[in-house]
């Protein structure tokens, strides 16, 4: 009994870690330019495929080189997308930007499908994945532990980056008031590019972990992107701590619904919770009410 509970909590932790790595990108981009970047789920997918290509094209590449390399490459793509597709529209109606983001997402899905084909693939086992068996029947594989630990580590690094560095401070300032910081001499373009880079790099790590634990295909970003977006909204979009909290909460509710109620109710309960939560706290758990400027 207890063994099953522990097993289910570990399942939830792994899923929540992946949600969080994606949700952070949504929340950071929203924080700086008030854009729901609907292409972000596809950046996550792209990160997984970049990792997959690195592994297959360069045999013997150590995993702890592959992950940072894939994160870096995906970060560059994220910056490029912002530069090419979003920057010109920054002061346009918000709807134009959202539609553009959707278009970028569809473009990425089809680009990857053209290059590598539509089949689902797995990133060949990179992380050690021996099964550790405990006396009470709990079985956990090493890669599951590593995925959870590395993800948490990345979140801690992000927190330090945002709160303790100069550029991080600038990011928070932009989130507060985009126009005022420009008067203070902050390079807005640099801050926004950094936001996209960091968000995309985290999503890439998520994509690689996902491809290791489950599988990757060109369309995986659609569903996972939605889930992570919802997690970010539950936590309070724009809030980094909120995105992490929302992700683990959503994964926990999903897994525990399957475990103790019925797998049929998984999405029903999870999204029902979202509605109830937003009725009580319209800005999410950690979200701040936005002041309307007249």
């Amino acid at each position: 009994m207890l063994a099953t509970v522990i097993q289910q909590l570990l399942n939830a932790a792994q899923l929540g870690a992946v949600y969080a790595l994606i949700a952070l990108g949504y929340t950071m981009v929203y924080g700086t330019i008030r854009l729901i970047n609907f292409a972000h789920g596809d950046i996550f997918m792209l990160g997984g495929f970049i990792g997959f290509l690195l592994v297959t094209l360069i045999p013997g590449l150590p995993v702890f080189v592959m992950i940072p390399a894939a994160m870096l490459l995906t970060a560059l793509v994220g910056v490029l997308i912002e530069r090419v597709a979003y920057r010109k529209l920054r002061n346009a109606q918000r709807m134009s930007l959202v539609i553009t983001a959707l278009g970028v997402g569809i473009f990425l899905e089809n680009l990857v499908r053209l290059i590598v084909g539509p089949q689902a693939r797995q990133i060949p086992a990179q992380l050690p994945n021996k099964a550790l068996k405990f006396a009470n029947g709990v079985v956990i594989t090493e890669d599951k532990i590593l995925i959870i630990v590395i993800s948490l580590l990345l979140m801690v690094i992000l927190w330090l980056f945002v709160n303790k560095t100069l550029i991080g401070t600038a990011m928070r300032a932009v989130a507060d008031n985009k126009d005022a910081v420009q008067l203070m001499g902050v390079n807005l373009n640099l801050v926004i590019s950094t936001t996209f880079a960091v968000g995309s790099a985290l999503a890439a790590a998520g994509g690689i972990f996902f491809g290791q634990a489950y599988s990757i295909d060109p369309y995986m970003g659609i569903d996972l992107g939605w889930k992570a977006f919802i997690a970010a909204v539950i936590g309070g979009i724009g809030s980094i701590e909120g995105a992490v909290l929302g992700s683990f909460l959503l994964a926990g509710v999903e897994v525990l619904t399957v475990a103790y109620l019925s797998s049929n109710l998984k999405n029903g309960i999870a999204f029902g919770l979202l509605i109830v939560l937003l009725l009580i706290r319209p800005n999410g758990i950690m979200g701040r009410a936005e002041l309307k400027k007249v």
């Binding site: 099953t4 097993q7 289910q8 399942n11 939830a12 792994q14 899923l15 499908r113 084909g117 539509p118 089949q119 689902a120 693939r121 797995q122 994945n129 099964a131 068996k133 029947g137 079985v139 594989t141 599951k144 996902f210 634990a213 489950y214 599988s215 295909d217 369309y219 995986m220 659609i222 569903d223 999903e254 897994v255 399957v258 475990a259 019925s262 797998s263 049929n264 998984k266 999405n267």
Partner: protein
């Protein structure tokens, strides 16, 4: 004023010119060329193109004394019902096909069938096993067995040869095929004296099954039944093994594609599934097709490819028998098919759109699909 008369007239002439000059028989194909089971869409297209090449090399189809070339229009339904409906609509109203082959998954065939039925265009689904596809329809046929039969076969195998007393099921609740056969299995296994300890669901595109599997692990079933497509099954088995589950695993015809082995690897060893045919069964038609297919595409034949090839020739035979490329006449000719000698076995229609065919049980051994036994 003058222009408004001339333009439509010119357009009409042009349309007539292109339509009238086009001789030959047009047949539509709806297949999942992209989406979650895209590998199966490729097999479908391969089989269709192979058949088209063969038929046209012989001069085409003999329609009422004259030879006519055949053109297959292969459209992508993405394995989504709404896309399949659009494809069927387009093939019928725009391309004016005389018949449709497809789709492969039951949920897509279920979406297309009412459209073909309403338009009076004969449809042959190669691989859709859900009973609803043809039920109550006059123009809809299939080249495979149906799930009430398959579910009974797999439940019988689990109770009999595997001696399983308890079973757990994990299936995609959002897909007609998976849901249908899961329910048949549950009923048949219980009727045979077994006990279903877990009946768990997931949704199309889910990749994480660890919560459902951890729950199943807690009730230690003798056998785990996974009536899902080949893209999901390897993930489910891997995750089950990672959780330390050691029970036997069985599946259904949705497993049959090389992707299953490519992704599942050694975790697939020792599992069983029901299928439409096995290359190991010695049939001349089967041997010839496998030889041609593997030579042209350098890849293994899956049941969907074999059934698609059978559907194409079933249709061609019907058109020749009808003597005209008229949908109603073709429909009547298909319905009166007796003992068509196909790659996957003999096909005979007795008043309904479902042929009477046997199934085989396949065992996975050293990364190969090996014939285990036949069920009739």
């Amino acid at each position: 004023m003058r222009r408004s008369v001339w333009l439509p007239a010119a357009l009409f002439a042009l349309a007539c010119l292109s339509a009238c000059s086009e001789k030959g028989v047009k047949i539509g194909v709806s297949a999942p060329l992209s989406g979650d089971i895209a590998a199966l869409g490729q097999s479908t297209r391969n089989a269709v193109l192979l058949a088209q090449e063969e038929i046209n090399a012989k001069g085409g189809i003999k329609v009422g004394g004259a030879m006519q070339k055949v053109t297959f229009i292969v459209e992508d339904d993405e394995n989504k019902p709404e896309a399949a409906a659009t494809v069927f609509q387009k093939l019928i109203s725009q391309d004016k096909v005389v018949a449709i082959i497809g789709s492969q998954s039951s949920k897509c065939s279920n979406a297309g069938a009412p459209i073909a039925e309403a338009a009076g265009i004969p449809q042959i689904s190669p691989w859709s096993t859900n009973p609803n596809v043809t039920a109550g329809k006059h123009f809809v046929f299939r080249a495979c067995f149906i799930d009430p039969f398959q579910g009974k076969a797999v439940a019988g195998f689990a109770r009999g040869k595997m001696k399983a007393a308890t079973a757990a099921v994990l299936y995609d609740v959002a897909s007609d095929y998976n849901k249908g056969i899961a329910e048949v299995f549950r009923d048949e296994f219980t009727k045979g004296g077994g006990k279903i300890v877990n009946f768990e669901t997931y949704n199309t595109n889910d990749k994480d099954f660890s919560a459902q599997l951890s729950k199943i692990k807690g009730s230690t079933p003798d056998v785990l039944f996974l009536p899902n497509y080949f893209n999901d099954v390897p993930l489910q088995i891997q995750q089950a093994r990672k959780l330390g589950m050691t029970c036997k695993v069985i599946g259904s015809d949705g497993w049959d594609n090389q992707e299953l082995i490519k992704m599942g690897g050694k975790d697939m060893e020792g599992t069983y599934f029901t299928n439409h045919y096995s290359p190991d069964v010695d049939r001349p038609a089967s041997k010839a097709f496998i030889a041609k297919y593997t030579k042209k595409y350098n890849t293994q034949v899956d049941a969907a490819a074999a059934l698609t090839y059978d559907s194409v020739y079933l249709l061609v035979q019907a058109i020749e028998k009808a003597g005209k490329a008229d949908p109603k006449a073709i429909r009547d000719a298909i319905a009166s098919t007796k003992n068509f000698d196909g790659v996957t076995g003999a096909i005979t229609f007795n008043g309904s759109g479902d042929p009477v065919k046997g199934a085989v049980i396949i065992r996975i051994e050293n990364g190969k699909f090996v014939f285990d036994s036949a069920v009739n």
